[in-house]
């Protein structure tokens, strides 16, 4: 299973074995990574699963859809590498992916 590393805002790392086909958000929730609320359960409706994708992985995770981009615009401290983790589906090629969590969601 691909390994995904989540780094909390305080620097704490969580390395998770993630199932192919689920989202980066779901893998975090399943493995009890704090800091990803995902209130809407992955419907791209709430922007509470915001992560910063490590720049080395920016191309591999794929592009943001316009809906996601607009939601992120209003998230807490959006950056170029901001993504909604519910919109990134885990594939074999994402083995080693690193994402960082913002200080707040919403």
């Amino acid at each position: 299973m691909p390994k995904i590393t989540y780094i909390e805002h305080n620097g704490k790392e969580h390395v998770v074995d993630a199932e192919v086909g689920i989202s980066v958000m779901e893998a975090a929730v399943k493995n009890m990574v704090p800091g990803i609320d995902a209130d809407c359960g992955g419907a791209c409706a709430c922007a509470t699963c915001h992560v910063y994708v490590d720049p080395a992985w920016a191309d591999k995770v794929g592009r943001k859809e316009p809906m996601e981009e607009s939601m992120l615009d209003f998230a807490y401290e959006p950056k170029e590498n901001s993504r909604l983790s519910c919109q990134i589906t885990i594939r074999k090629e994402l083995d080693g992916l690193i994402v960082r969590l913002p200080e707040f969601q919403g």
Binding site: I22, E26, V29, K30, N31, M32, D39, C40, G41, A43, C44, A45, C46, A47, M67, S70, M71, D73, F74, A75
Partner: protein, 405 residues
């Protein structure tokens, strides 16, 4: 604090409250009872991806089983509670087991309102609230025959979209003269009526249902006009009723649901309530409301959890909601009831626009259709009670971010 906290109801609110209690540092016993046999799960996909067979059941669960174990949350699925004795501070299960509590949370939800018309108990007449309900309805999306949907609220319309996607013939019967009449303005109703008709839904407004006919299994819906609509299944989505029996029997104050104050406390200081079953005062709107939505369940349960752990948090979250139908995502912020003016921004024909609802010049609510920027901006504006710059809003070139300081 060491006394035991009992949570009745293991839905979105119950599960959130349990997590929030631990986050707030409460280290005593947490005992959570759920009437269903599942781990706490999300209901919104039950009318959409899960109903369509695109999402496995285990992806509905809000948290893995290990979470409850690690957090020392004693989850008891499949246990119904018979009564609460608030004087003795105990609850009694239907099996007769008694459990004492120091504090109690009612998160009992709002099950669907049921029809009692002729034929309402025929097989093939469905309601939708639980995984079991969705599983029972799913075959109606793969076999032949028409699906009749009673009620053009969110459940009805989302199931209509799911059924049309599966190629099933759909008739929607709505008593009112427009869809979503209780929850959205006329512009949004008109948009969704056109959307569903364009997708082949036979939408009947102002349609009064008399009952159903069939030999054991439903075969037709009968209108007051005498017209019969042949069908192989029916979904009824005519609203929900807050589950208040336990509260009522315990002598708690009711007010369109279980009455709570702005701290999610009921009229008994040891008992809290959150989610679909509870009504609460809204500081934003200056009146009492009861909301049936996931965000309300989550936010109110956070407040209940924090306060049961000894905190002093006030429930003041902006209501919001979403619905997915076909290629349309509707996101709603606030409550539009009482609006005296609406403003439409964007392009209705292009299915990307927002309806802004005002009362006395103050922004009450926004319905955003495929327009997450309008949703996100208005959520901040209403939360912070920021007056809206009408000129900027009316300028199609202006960036909505400029409305939010």
């Amino acid at each position: 604090m060491g006394g035991r906290i009992i949570i009745i109801g293991a839905g979105q609110a119950g599960a959130q409250a349990a997590a929030s209690l631990r986050q707030a540092g409460y280290s005593g016993d947490i005992l959570m009872f759920g009437a269903e046999n599942e781990l706490p799960y999300q209901r919104p996909p039950l009318s959409k991806a899960y109903l369509q067979g695109e999402l496995a059941a285990d992806r509905l669960f809000l948290r893995p089983k290990a979470f409850y174990e690690q957090q020392n949350i004693d989850l008891r699925p499949g246990v119904r509670i018979a009564r609460i004795d608030p004087a003795a501070k105990i609850i009694v299960t239907e099996a007769g087991d008694e459990f004492a509590y120091e504090k109690l949370l009612l998160a009992t939800g709002a099950p669907p309102r049921r029809l009692d018309c002729p034929g309402a108990d025929l097989k093939g007449v469905h309601y939708l609230r639980t995984i079991e309900d969705s599983d029972a309805l799913r075959p109606a999306l793969s076999r032949g025959g028409r699906l009749v949907i009673v009620g053009a609220g969110y459940i009805g319309l989302e199931v209509a979209a799911s059924a049309r996607k599966a190629g099933v013939d759909v008739t929607v019967l709505e008593m009112a003269d427009r869809v979503l009449a209780r929850v959205a303005g006329k512009e949004i109703s008109a948009f969704f009526e056109a959307l569903h008709r364009a997708h082949g839904v036979d939408l009947r407004l102002g349609a009064a249902l008399k009952g159903f006919e069939g030999q054991g299994l439903v075969e037709a819906a009968v209108l007051e006009t005498g017209e019969k609509i042949a069908c192989s299944a029916v979904l009824v989505g005519v609203g929900a009723r807050p589950s208040t029996r336990l509260a009522e029997d315990a002598g708690l104050t009711l007010a369109n649901g279980v009455w709570t104050d702005d701290h999610a406390r009921t009229s008994d200081p040891s008992i809290y309530a959150a989610g679909d079953c509870a009504s609460h005062p809204s500081p934003i709107y200056g009146r009492r409301m009861r909301l049936e939505s996931v965000p309300n369940a989550i936010e109110q349960a956070k407040i209940a959890g924090a306060n049961m752990a000894g905190g002093d948090a006030v429930y003041d979250a902006v209501p919001w909601f979403w619905s997915d139908q076909y290629d349309v995502k509707l996101q709603t912020v606030g409550v539009s009831e009482g609006a005296d003016r609406t403003f439409i921004r964007g392009d209705v024909a292009a299915k990307k626009f927002s309806v802004w609802y005002f009362a006395n010049g103050r922004l009450l609510a926004v319905d955003a259709v495929n327009d997450p920027a309008a949703f996100a901006a208005s959520k901040k504006l209403i939360a912070a009670r920021i007056p809206v710059d009408a000129k900027k809003l009316a300028d199609p070139e202006s960036d909505l971010k400029s409305l939010v300081p």
